[in-house]
């Protein structure tokens, strides 16, 4: 080939000879972004703990034990006990199951729906875009907390109701983000090329658009998850989420915050768990978006 051509110095992010597989790319991202690594490790540890909670601790998170109530941290109860004599650490460890389970399910549903709708809107455009945009704006205009409260009051506080309710209130935001990302892709010449070939909408979506917005979707997932975790904990705190005695972080804070001066760990432990999970998700979102050049902050709150 050309002897004249001087290859430009490789852009800092691309290592020319690495195979272009997704896993390799993910691995490269992790290696290049310490923020993302730290964040994902936080999240992974939380997931592991939630899954392995029964193996990690022998205390039953639900069993009352009046003789052991309101104890400070000790060798026996590393994070002390609450007013029912339940081991705080056990409740915190098990607490991840509810928080993560509901959050992940809700986020998956939200992001999946939002991605499909967002891409469709971006590809179709025209009146479809206008109408859906207005409707989504209208949904967004109702405070999500109010919408959630109404749905939960109407349908009960079961985990699936909460998953559904969160999907309803947060899909519009995902649609917005994904639509924005897809709109940047749709006019690209490779999409035009596919159109000139006469490819179908679905094929263009799958082959051309999705692979190019998957970064945005991943970042959105991490960010949305952090938001959902916070929202669910707020719901629990208000008494609209998990019912007692479910070990749930928001509920634990609500239960123990009056006693915070006597047994601070009973409140602090779930707060720390909650905060580390959310920080992890945020770090992951930050790191990934930086590594992939996604403007994650653009969509704001």
């Amino acid at each position: 080939m050309s002897t004249l051509e001087t290859p430009a110095p490789p852009p800092p992010s691309a290592t020319p000879l690495a195979p272009p597989s997704a896993t390799a790319r993910a691995w490269r991202t992790l290696r290049s972004s310490r923020t993302a690594t730290v964040g994902l490790v936080f999240v992974a540890v939380h997931v592991l703990i939630a899954l392995l909670a029964p193996a990690l601790i022998s205390y039953d998170p639900l069993a009352n034990n009046a003789d052991q109530a309101l104890l400070g941290p000790s060798g026996e109860h590393l994070a002390g006990t609450d007013q029912y004599g339940r081991d705080v650490l056990a409740r915190v460890l098990y607490g991840g199951q509810y928080a993560l389970g509901v959050s992940v399910a809700a986020t998956l549903l939200t992001v999946a729906l939002g991605t499909v709708a967002g891409c469709a809107v971006a590809l179709r455009g025209g009146w479809f875009d206008d109408v859906l945009g207005r409707v989504l704006d209208a949904v967004l205009s109702v405070p999500s907390v109010l919408a959630l409260l109404v749905i939960v009051t109407a349908l009960g506080t079961g985990p699936w109701v909460i998953v559904l309710a969160i999907a309803v209130v947060s899909v519009p935001q995902v649609v917005r983000v994904v639509r924005g990302a897809a709109l940047a892709v749709v006019p690209a010449d490779y999409v035009t090329a596919a159109r000139a070939r006469g490819e179908g909408t679905w094929s263009i979506l799958r082959r051309e658009v999705l692979p190019n917005i998957i970064d945005v979707v991943c970042v959105e997932f991490a960010m949305r998850a952090s938001w959902v975790v916070l929202l669910i904990s707020s719901l629990s705190f208000l008494g609209f989420g998990a019912d007692p005695p479910t070990p749930d972080w928001g509920l634990m804070v609500a239960e123990n915050r009056t006693a915070i001066t006597v047994v601070p760990m009973a409140s602090l432990a779930p707060i720390i768990a909650l905060a580390t999970l959310v920080i992890g998700l945020n770090l992951a979102a930050d790191g990934l978006s930086k590594a992939w050049g996604v403007d994650r902050i653009k969509e704001g709150a």
Partner: protein
Amino acid sequence: MSDIHHPGRRSVLATGAASAAALGASWLLSGCTGASAAPALPAAAKQGVPDPGGTLRIARPPASDAETLDPASALSAYEYLGALYNRLVRIGENGAVAPDLAESWEPDAKARTWTFRIRKGVTFHDGRALTSADAAYTLRHILDKKTASPQAAVLAPLVDPGRLRTPDPHTLVVPLKSPHAEFPSLLTHYNCYVIPDGSGRAIGRTGIGTGPFELESFTPAGPGRITAYEDHWAGRPVLDAISFYSVADMSARSNALLAGQVDLLSQTNLDFATARVVAASDRATIARVENAQWYVLPMLTTEKPFTDVRVRQAMKLAYDPEHVVKVALQGAGTAGWDNPVPPSDPAHITAHPEHDPDQARHLLKKAGHEGLAVDLYTSSYDPVFTPMALAYQDSARRAGIRIRVKTAAADSYYTQIWMKQPLMATYWFTGRPVDQLLTQVFRSGSSYNETAWSDRDFDALLDRARQETDGTRRRELYGEAQTLVIDKGGAITPMFADRLVGLSRKVRGYAEYGFEFDYRGIGLKGA
């Protein structure tokens, strides 16, 4: 409607040395040391002589947006009543009926007619002198259908408003429709505060009574203020004024106390954890009133599955009250064994079925409700509700009963949940005389019959008991009535709890008798 949870009891404040563990906020500075010591409550309200004057600030849970100062009403703002009004008779420190506006009273031989001598030299806040006409009007006001007083259900079978007589300004004669040997005890109820003759319509706003304080301002479910009534017949109160604030949320209330925004939490039995926090604070402490709270899980006998008496029995046999006392109260109370009459009442019977989860399981199987799953509603209205519910849930699990604890809003708990949901947690102040208690809460059709239980045998027993002039025999009849409630009724009574009252360390002379504390004697030191 929502003030069922007032009614008081005869008990004296447990006094003790203050273990002035002034931890305060030291944990904030020292890091989280936590409390590794064995759970213990340094319960100690300071006794001693208060300084004269001062304003006491009380936080109370609002009953409803329709609160009124009419003592006969179901929606009365309970905390104001004892300060603004007096009754004819009250419950004294020893638990016996004591004189208040009536200096003395006596029945005829068959306990059919009761004569009350009204105290002289008593004036209402508007300057008018108290006469027997006012007392008679008070009774007629209670019995007036338009008043819709909960106490009417108790008094109407006995008192004919048309036959009340006032032979002179200081004598009230009450002829009864049927004999009642303990009639005066029914007048100790907080619905029976004496109001001026003819004031029925205005009393809800004016609050004019003979009590130690007169009204300055009052907002339903809002703040209000009362000031010392200089001409009170028993002498001016220690305080200059009392300010009331409405705070619905329990933890907000205790935060207000801890922050020094209020001096006393009324209508608030602190849960054990909060009590520990309050006791550890350098601003506040707790006073403990033994067995002052009757905690109950009423099952609506008109709602499935509790229409079936076997299910009700199973629900009672299934759990261990001792476990509930231990977990929910850390032992600060007495197991109730489903008997609503407190252990301190002379009529209380100790016999009860033993905790028997197997039998409960068996009963449920027979009733076709094996593996019963029911919702149990609680709320942050009272901090012990949820612990009690969780302890019950934990204990009943052994009988295969699955309880789902549901948290409802505090604000609307007594309008939306109480007497509407089949199973919920609630409480009453103890301190009702046994007849009043059984009539008001368990008799068919009574307005506070929160289990909607209707049992003819039980009603007949009550009728016989109140006509019985022989004290011993009467107690036996009330005992039989208790047995019926335990066996067939819808009320699960896990326990009687000591009331843990949060108050400022500046408060002196806090003492509870009957339904309210001593408004005249309470004061502040070093305020």
